[in-house]
Point group: C2
Chain length 311, copies 2
């Protein structure tokens, strides 16, 4: 994978900037006679809970063994941690925070939170949100273990101003990138959205959005076209958030909504390209009810129709 020099420059500048900021954010540590390394050890100990050894800390934190040994010794003499000999290996000790250690960590984090509060105080609320989002993005991209988990995702079933545009944006840009569709596809999406918005009625129509923070990362909708049948549309999950069950959740919600609104049938139009989506449809009881080859969105595609009976 090639690396964009512009990106490297920004990371470098960011690093330089954050080095100054860190100095400010970590200043409160001095009040408690703790070094940054010592704090990181405490945090790691809480994370690992049990069965944490010195070696693990050395490997994870990149800290010198000798230095760590002294940190741990001081922790022990202050009763912040408890050591317990391993019965598998007589050389190693399992390290664990004592209640006192946990309390200290909490106090420290309290102090840190106050510093952060002061820093954030003059920042308008929505910029604060944007900040948190951006920081999460940084962590998410750079660390393997800060993967997005289903708990980070919230769901919303009301359509707010800006939502429709963003869903169109996701469709336009993602299908262009992933499937090679041209602008005609976004035009078509725009048309369907206009028809939807104009006739929007919550008794027959329902939108579901998957959100990460205040960012839309997935969507689905059911549109009551007749008294009996409803069309499912705009089923999409942003690629960064696939594979953690968001698609299934959206689909379930949509099917349930259609049932609640007493529709007898759901149908949807997709293409044979959408392998992941169609397999999900089939798994949820949809069956293919038609297909035709045709030139669409600048490509030669096979349009497919799926249906499910709800009663």
């Amino acid at each position: 994978m090639s690396v964009n020099p512009e990106v490297v420059r920004e990371v470098s500048e960011f690093n330089n900037y954050y080095n100054s900021l860190a100095e400010l954010l970590n200043r409160h540590l001095a009040d408690n006679n703790l070094s940054l390394s010592a704090l990181r050890v405490l945090i790691k100990l809480r994370e690992e809970e049990e069965q944490c050894t010195a070696g693990k800390l050395i490997a994870n934190l990149g800290i010198d063994g000798g230095y760590l040994s002294r940190i741990l010794k001081s922790f022990e003499s202050n009763q912040l941690i408890a050591k317990r000999k391993s019965n598998l290996d007589g050389r190693t000790w399992y390290l664990q925070l004592t209640p006192k250690g946990s309390r200290l960590l909490e106090t420290l984090e309290q102090g840190s939170a106050e510093q952060i509060g002061k820093l954030l105080e003059p920042v308008p609320a929505e910029q604060q949100q944007a900040l948190a989002g951006a920081m999460k993005t940084v962590r998410h991209i750079l660390s393997d273990d800060a993967k997005i988990s289903p708990e980070d995702i919230t769901y919303r079933r009301d359509l707010q101003p800006g939502d429709a545009g963003f869903i169109m944006h996701m469709h336009g840009s993602l299908y262009a990138k992933e499937a090679g569709y041209n602008l005609e596809f976004e035009t078509h999406t725009c048309k369907t959205f206009y028809e939807f918005l104009e006739a929007y009625n919550s008794s027959k129509d329902q939108v579901f959005l998957a959100m990460h923070g205040n960012q839309i990362i997935g969507s689905i909708a059911v549109l009551g076209h007749s008294r009996y049948a409803t069309q499912m549309r705009w089923f999409l999950v942003h690629p960064d958030y696939r594979g953690i069950g968001i698609g299934q959740r959206l689909l379930t919600e949509a099917i349930n909504a259609a049932k609640e609104k007493l529709f007898q049938k759901i149908y949807l139009i997709t293409t044979s390209q959408q392998v992941a989506a169609t397999s999900l449809f089939k798994k949820n009881g949809f069956r293919k009810s038609g297909e035709k080859h045709m030139p669409m969105w600048g490509l030669q595609l096979t349009e497919e129709r799926y249906e499910i009976d709800l009663i």
Copy 2:
């Protein structure tokens, strides 16, 4: 301004995460026998160029005076900086990087870039972009001096898949927040966009987008409705980017495009609420050619029409 505890938590976690990362990114410093503080001094000296004094460094970097004095002394003995006595104040010295100092700094940044390169190597290209964007956002929000400057903004005149949706999104969400418009407004925007996209023809239509990285932050368009007149639409700059001339630049581009396409007249529809925009229109030669009161987008508004003759 109140502070959201969720945001504080994310900042705290981010800080914790970045402390580990910084250790990695700054490791190369040890190879050159420089401390992090010393590096920051070097960077600041390059930034300030001339007339930088020790006091300024102390104030800006929050570094101890005694420590700084020693760092500077070592820099001087290594011919990385040159001191020059102030003739205004006999106590102070103006500090300046020597060519050798600049070269060292470049070498260091080279090393840093290599570290960053290694870190970024497994990250897909678009996630790299997203990372840079997120980091810029963080800096932008937290630092007063990292204000967006006009040089950071690029302009684009082609309409790519996803653009239309995003412009609609900006209109829908921003007008809702700033002017209180309801969903009907986004519906209307959607309709106008559909009409535009369907009849899109680059000989008569032109879109301009202001970009920050790969994010759309401003838009404008001219739509050739007849042989003589063109309508200006979707003129909007994201609030975070206002007041640095982006609006004027977009407007100029749009007027020029209309002239190039040999239209005789531009007209546009807006409301009396859009004070900043209308004053910009007037400043650029538009005149009000009509207005009517009417209920719109859930409010009682005064719709205004502006025109400009191009020949």
